[in-house]
């Protein structure tokens, strides 16, 4: 297989079934033991428009989408016209025999003959793709049986026949496309995207309440908890707006339930007063902020990393917070789990900052080992402590800044959570000394958060000439771009931050200073993280490499600009 593996792109209008084909093919590839990176490029509409579902498949681990298309499945003419120049050398187009291949190396498929009705064309396309790529046939058959099983034996039988006919038809055309090499990955892996992994991480941490207002690309976090988490005892409430969503979550954690709030930039902007409330009330809450390009509605279904500053500074007044930025699907799980521990431990908002690319990107993921997870902090559910039927010191001044957090109803003492500056018991105060003592107490928790911050992942290259700095989902493409450059003889290292706040310069400043050139790669137009690094360390990167057209970083795009 080539260095980049095989890139299969399905293109068409929304509603034509490209996602169905993509999902089933991806699952078949993962079940067979291949590595995949799925990227979904869609327009903000339910019907029409031009969308693509890209599956990069490889027999070895991969971490980024590719650009050049080895197999383009064109569900309409527009797909051929738009993408014919993006075909790799030897790339083929699979299209209906009635469409014009426009001079490409094409496999025209008589879909109408292979499908008794148009509804079967997706399965026919799967049969052709499975055969051309050399996917294990029993695996694909099992998947078709599973997918249509609920609709009864007759429907299963019809689909199996279509699959069989399409497979046989394609066998006659095998010469036009080299089959995939044998897979090497383990069996039993999950087909999981970022938002699903976040939902699983939250469940593993004991999330009990999720309040949300639907917003792309964050909605599927809540959706996973609704369809799959409910059985595990989670209450999910669709709120009237994002303001209600975050305020509900604060009510939930006050009542002792771990709470999650998924949203995107515009929705999060509405939540900012609630973030400030969580700060002064010292209420735990995990906010999943799945970024998409702004300002305002921007490019609503595409990707960007431009809300770092928003997450950093959201909420009036000064209070601590932590911002975790997963780079991989595994990170989405583990960092969400960690976010619940941090927010419970320090009683202040914690963010999981992702983006549309990671939210929607499917990969092959080994099921998580739940027994290996560290414990998650809990509030004090004990019945003892505090005066009976009087307020205990909810905001007791302590050295760490963390006060005992009791839960109303679990004890005879009373819990008063308050939004003003307050006394240790939670009552309104205007006292200047107490104000300072309380503000200092809250900010001391920031030091505790800093002491636990996750160091950046740094590649093995000792003292590279070029050090690429990135955060969040850019890690995969940046790491592969570094490999491309190394192949060309360059000395390149990668430093990837999965926690972007707070930062501990001792963890990374020496490495930054040792590199000859430091380039910060970010999916925004102003180099927000590079500025944050300078603010916190005084270190200025040599330059930034920024993308803000709503499109995903690819290794090729990066390597071309780093030559």
């Amino acid at each position: 297989m080539s260095h980049t593996g095989r890139n299969i792109v399905i293109g068409g209008e929304a509603g034509q079934g490209l996602v169905t084909i993509g999902q089933m093919l991806t699952k078949a590839l993962i079940r067979s033991g291949y590595e995949v990176v799925v990227s979904q490029d869609y327009m903000s509409r339910v019907r029409g428009g031009h969308n693509t579902y890209s599956i990069r498949v490889h027999d070895a681990p991969i971490a980024a989408p590719a650009e050049a298309m080895d197999v383009l499945v064109a569900l309409n003419q527009e797909t051929v016209s738009l993408h014919k120049h993006e075909l790799a050398d030897g790339g083929i187009v699979i299209l209906d025999a009635g469409l014009d291949p426009e001079g490409t190396k094409a496999v025209p498929v008589p879909f109408k003959d292979l499908s008794p009705r148009p509804i079967f064309e997706n399965v026919a396309a799967l049969g052709v793709l499975g055969s051309l790529l050399g996917v294990d046939r029993p695996t694909m058959e099992g998947l078709v049986r599973e997918t249509f099983g609920k609709k009864g034996d007759e429907v299963v039988g019809q689909n199996m026949k279509v699959l069989d006919d399409a497979w046989k038809w394609a066998e006659a055309h095998r010469a036009s496309c080299a089959a995939l090499p044998a897979p090497k990955g383990p069996k039993g892996r999950m087909m999981l995207h970022g938002n699903e992994a976040i939902a699983l991480g939250a469940l593993a941490a004991g999330v009990k309440f999720c309040s949300f207002y639907p917003m792309t690309p964050a909605t599927s976090v809540a959706q996973e908890l609704i369809t799959k988490g409910r059985k595990l005892g989670v209450v999910v409430e669709q709120a009237e707006d994002e303001i209600a969503a975050i305020n509900m979550a604060l009510g939930a954690t006050y009542a002792g339930a771990k709470a999650l709030v998924p949203t995107s930039g515009g929705g999060f902007a509405l939540m900012t007063e609630g973030v400030s409330l969580a700060g002064v009330m010292e209420a735990p809450v995990v906010i999943v902020l799945a970024q998409r390009p702004g300002p305002a509605t921007g490019l609503p279904t595409r990707t960007e990393q431009a809300d770092l500053n928003l997450a950093l500074y959201a909420g009036h007044g000064e209070f601590p917070r932590a911002i975790l930025a997963p780079a991989t699907i595994e990170d989405c799980f583990h960092l969400t789990h960690a976010a619940f521990d941090l927010t419970e431990r320090f009683q202040t908002p914690v963010f999981v900052l992702t983006d549309q690319y990671l939210s929607d990107s499917y990969r092959a993921v080994v099921p998580f080992d739940l027994d290996a997870l560290p414990p998650v902090a809990e509030p004090d559910f004990s019945p003892g402590g505090g005066p009976k039927f009087k307020r205990y010191k909810r905001y007791e001044l302590t050295e760490s800044g963390v006060s005992p957090r009791k839960v109303p109803g679990f004890t005879e003492t009373l819990v008063l959570a308050d939004c003003h500056e307050h006394t240790e018991q939670g009552n309104i105060t205007e006292d200047a000394d107490l104000r300072n003592a309380m503000n200092d107490k809250r900010l001391r928790k920031g030091e505790g958060l800093r002491a636990l911050c996750i160091p950046p992942r740094v590649s093995d290259d000792a003292n590279p000439d070029l050090l690429l700095v990135c955060w969040g989902s850019s890690e995969g493409p940046v790491a592969e771009a570094a490999e491309l450059l190394r192949d060309r003889g360059r000395s390149v290292g990668v430093m990837s931050f999965t926690q972007v706040w707070p930062l501990d310069p001792a963890q990374f400043l020496p490495a930054l200073q040792a590199a000859k050139e430091v380039v910060c790669v970010e999916g925004n137009a102003t180099g927000q993280f590079a500025r944050l690094l300078r603010q916190e360390t005084g270190f200025e990167v040599s330059r930034t490499l920024l993308r803000y057209d709503g499109r995903i970083f690819t290794p090729k795009w990066l390597a071309e600009r780093l030559e």
Binding site: R31, G188, M190, M191, L192, L200, L203, A204, K208, F209, S211, K228, R230, K231, G233, V234, V235, E237, A239, E240, D241, I243, A244, A245, N247, A249, L250, G251, A252, A255, G256, A257, A259, E273, G274, L277, P367, F368, L370, D371, P379, F381, F389, K390, V407, P408, G409, F410, E412, T413, L414, V415, L416, A417, D418, C419, H420, G426, N427, I428
Partner: protein, 283 residues
């Protein structure tokens, strides 16, 4: 329950003569009469003069943001159904800043009580029109008179078939105590719009003004008759009816969630076997 258990706070930031003093007295009496221990109640508020209530009574308290008392109040009930949840706040908080939450709470129908101190003015910010200030009333910020038509919370709530709708007046403590108790006992979202006159910033809707107008509903008013309730809800003039205007027995949201039958969510353990099985569904 001895009324002393809820504490008595002589020092408040409310003016002498403010209706809120009487409301707090009524709340204490209502809770004592229902034998509700202070730790079994979650008392939620937003911002405004009325919203300071959690600081002046010994109950579990959550003093949240302006307009945002209802979302946490509902979530508390959805996370711990064993708590009695009461929200208290003013007309600006609930009908202005939090208007969307008010509508949503009626629809959601979580078992809780909302006490709205309705003084038809903004007190904390010193005298601007509130959503319930009558059209034409001159205020500091509306020197030519209020141009907006007033919001009728009771009519809106009845129109939306809110589970329980009552109106009362701080100047009639026994009536107010009764309304609060009925609201708490009702299974579902219960609104009590209670007049609590502002002695400093509303010189029109005074204690005397309300006292003259508030008349208890006749005994033959049937609160389960929606059409009759709609008629009553629109009466707001020389006579203002007080009492239980409307109620129905729509089951509350919290009663329909199986997970809540197992008690408070906070202490329910992580179902690791269930989660393992869930992960298998992605393979």
């Amino acid at each position: 329950m001895d009324i002393e258990v809820y504490g008595e706070y002589k020092k408040t930031s409310w003016c002498p003569g403010c209706g809120n003093h009487d409301v707090m007295k009524a709340v204490r009496q209502a809770l004592a009469g229902l034998d509700l221990a202070p730790n079994r109640v979650a008392h939620v508020s937003g911002i405004g003069q009325a919203a300071k209530a959690p600081h002046y009574i010994d109950l579990n308290g959550f003093n949240g943001l302006h307009g945002r008392g209802l979302p946490p109040a509902q979530a508390i009930k959805l996370c711990n159904p064993e708590l009695t949840v009461i929200a208290q706040s003013g007309d600006g908080c609930n009908y202005g800043e939090g208007g969307n939450h008010f509508l949503a709470a009626i629809r959601r129908n979580v078992d809780m009580t909302l006490l709205v101190h309705d003084n038809q003015i903004y007190g904390l910010t010193k005298g601007q029109a509130s959503p319930t200030t009558p059209e034409g009333q001159i205020t500091k910020s509306q020197p030519d008179g209020v141009r907006n038509a007033p919001f009728n919370p009771v009519a809106v709530a009845v129109a939306m078939k809110c589970s329980f709708v009552a109106r009362s007046f701080s100047g009639n403590t026994p009536h107010l105590v009764k309304m609060i108790q009925l609201a708490i006992q009702h299974k579902g979202f219960a609104l009590v719009d209670l007049f609590s006159p502002c002695v400093s910033f509303n010189k029109v809707n005074t204690f005397g003004w309300y006292k003259q107008r508030c008349q208890e509903l006749p005994e033959d008013h049937d609160p389960t008759d929606w059409a009759a309730a709609m008629q009553v809800a629109q009466e707001f003039g020389e006579r203002i009816p007080v009492g239980v205007i409307y109620r129905n027995d729509r089951p509350p949201l919290d009663a329909s969630l199986p997970v809540l039958q197992k008690g408070p969510l906070g202490r329910q353990p992580v179902d690791r076997d269930g989660l393992r099985a869930l992960m298998q569904s992605y393979t």
